[in-house]
Amino acid sequence: MSVNKDLVAASSTPLVLAILAEGDSYGYAILQRVRELSGGALEWTDGMLYPVLHRLERTGRIEARWEKAASGRRRKYYRLTDEGRAQLADEQRQWRTVDATLRRIWSDLADGAAQGFVLPSPQRS
C-alpha cells in the first residue's frame, strides 16, 4: 500500500522530529528508520529528505554538526533542539486531533454500515 504525496509531505516534519527525538542521527539512517516504521508504506525520494532537514535547521528546530563516521567519511549529524521538542509536542497534538476526528467518523461509518445505511444520516447528533 502506498500513501499519497501530500500526506507524505505533511507527515515528514513530525516524523523527522520524532526520529531525532529518539537520538541524534543523519540522513541515511533517518530514512532507514522511516522505512522500518512504516513497513515501506511511506515512500520518500531519498534526496527530498535533505531540503526538509535544512529547513528545520534554518528555523532552529534541529542543529547540525559534521563528524567523521566509522567509514572515514564526513557525515552531517542532526540533533533536536528545545524548540524542536516544542514543535514536536505541538505536531503531536495536531496529529492526534486529526487522527481522533477521523477515527470518530470511521467508526460512525462502520456503525452505519452495520445498520444498513450507506451514508451517515445528517440528523445524527
Binding site: 543523519y26 540522513g27 541515511y28 525520494t45 531519498d46 534526496g47 527530498m48 535533505y50 567509514s71 552531517k76
Partner: protein
Amino acid sequence: MNANPPENIHAESVEALIGRWRAHLRRSRVIGQGDADELEDHLREQLDVLGAAGLSGDEAFLVAVRRIGAIDALTREFAREHSERLWKQLVFADDEDSGFAGASRKTWGALSLAVAAGVAIKLPDLLGIGFDEGTFYPRNLPFFVLPFVAVYFAWDRALSRSAWIGLAAVFTVAAVTVNLFPFDPTGSDTEVLTILHLPLALWFAVGVAYAGGRWWGSDRRMDFVRFTGELLIYYVLIGLGGGVLIATTIGLFSAIGLDAEPWVERWILPCGVAGAAVVATRLVEAKQSVVENMAPVLTRVFSPMFALLLLTFVGTKLWTGRGIDMEREMLIAFDLLLVVVFGLLLYSVSARDPEAPPGPFDWIQLTLVGAALVVDLLALGAMSSRISDFGFTPNRVAALGENLVLLVNLAVSATLYVGFLRGAAPFARLAEWQTRYLYVLAGWAAVVAFVFPLVFGFA
C-alpha cells in the same frame, strides 16, 4: 559487462561515476559544497548496503542514484529551501559556506590586482610627483587602471604568450608616447584631447584581452559591449559607496579634532579609484550569468524618454521658428546627445533577441535615432555657415569629427532598422554593424589621442 571484473578497476569506475554525479549536482549553484558532501555520504552508504546485498558496483550505483532522485527535482527542492543562494552568488559565485578557504581563486586574483593597481597609482606620488602637480596624473591615469584589468582577463582567459606580449607592447608604446609628447606646459588643448581619448583607445586593448584574443568573432565584441555597460554601472555604485566611506572617515576624525581630508585625498581616493576598477571587473564577471543585465534595462527606461524629448525639441523649434544658436560649446552638447543616443541604441541592440519579430520598442528606438539625426543635422546646418569663421582649432576638429563618426553610425543604423522593420533584413545585420563600428570608434579615439598633438604642434 565482464562477469568478474578485477576489483580495482571496478572500484575505480564507480568512483568515476560518483565524481561525475557530484559534478552534475554542483553545477546548479543552489547545491553547496556541504550539501553535496551530505548527499554523497548518503549515496555511498546506500552503495555499501546494496553492495553487501550482492549488487555489482554500477548496478548498485544506478539503484542508489535513482533512490536519491532526479537531480533536476532535487535542485528545485534545494532552490526552494535555499533561495538566498540564488542571490548570494551575485557576489562570490563559487564561494560556499566554507568561507575563506572556499573563496574562489579568481576573486583573490582580482583582489591582488586591485591592490597592485592601488600601489601603482600611489607610487609616483611617493616618489615625489604630486597628484596635483602638472598633468602627469591625468595623462597617465589609464595606465594605472587599464593594464590591471587587462592582466586580469589575460590571466583568467589564459592568453597565449604572443597575446600577452602584444598587449604589453600596446600599453608600453602608448605610455612612452604620451609621456614623450612635448605638450605646451602653459596649457594645451591637444593634451586635454589626448587625456580624454587615450582611455577610450586603450579600452579596446582591454577588449582584446576580454575576448581571450578571439576579438574577431562579433559575439565576443558584443559581449565586451555588455561587459562595458555593466562595469560602468558597478563602478558608479562602488564610487557612491566610496563617497560614503570617505565622508564618514572625514566626519569621524574631525569629531576627535583631526583633519583626515589630506590623508583621504592622498591615499583612499586614488587607491580606491584604481582598485575599484579591477574589483568591479570581477563582480561583473562573477554575476554575468545570473541576473538580467542592468544596462539594457536602463535603455528600456530611457529610450522612450529621450525619443519624446527630441521630438518635442524638433516640434518646438519648428513651431517657434527659433534658430540654433551655435555658440562655442554647442557642438559638444550635440556630441553628447549623439553619444547618449548611440549608447541607448547599442545597449538595446545588445540585449535584443535577434530572432524576435519587430515590436513596439523597435519603433521607439527608430524614432529616437531618427529624431537625433534630425536634431544633429539642424545643428550642423546652423554651424556650417560659420565653421570657417571659427577656424580649425584642435577642439573644434575633434568635436566635428566625433559628430560625423556618430552621425554615420546612426544614419546607417536607421537604414538597417527600417530594413528590419519592413522585414527586408534580419536584425543580426544591425548588431553586426554596431560591433564592426567599434573599430571606427577605437580608431578615431586613437587618432585624436596620438595624431592630433603632432598635427596641431602640441598646442
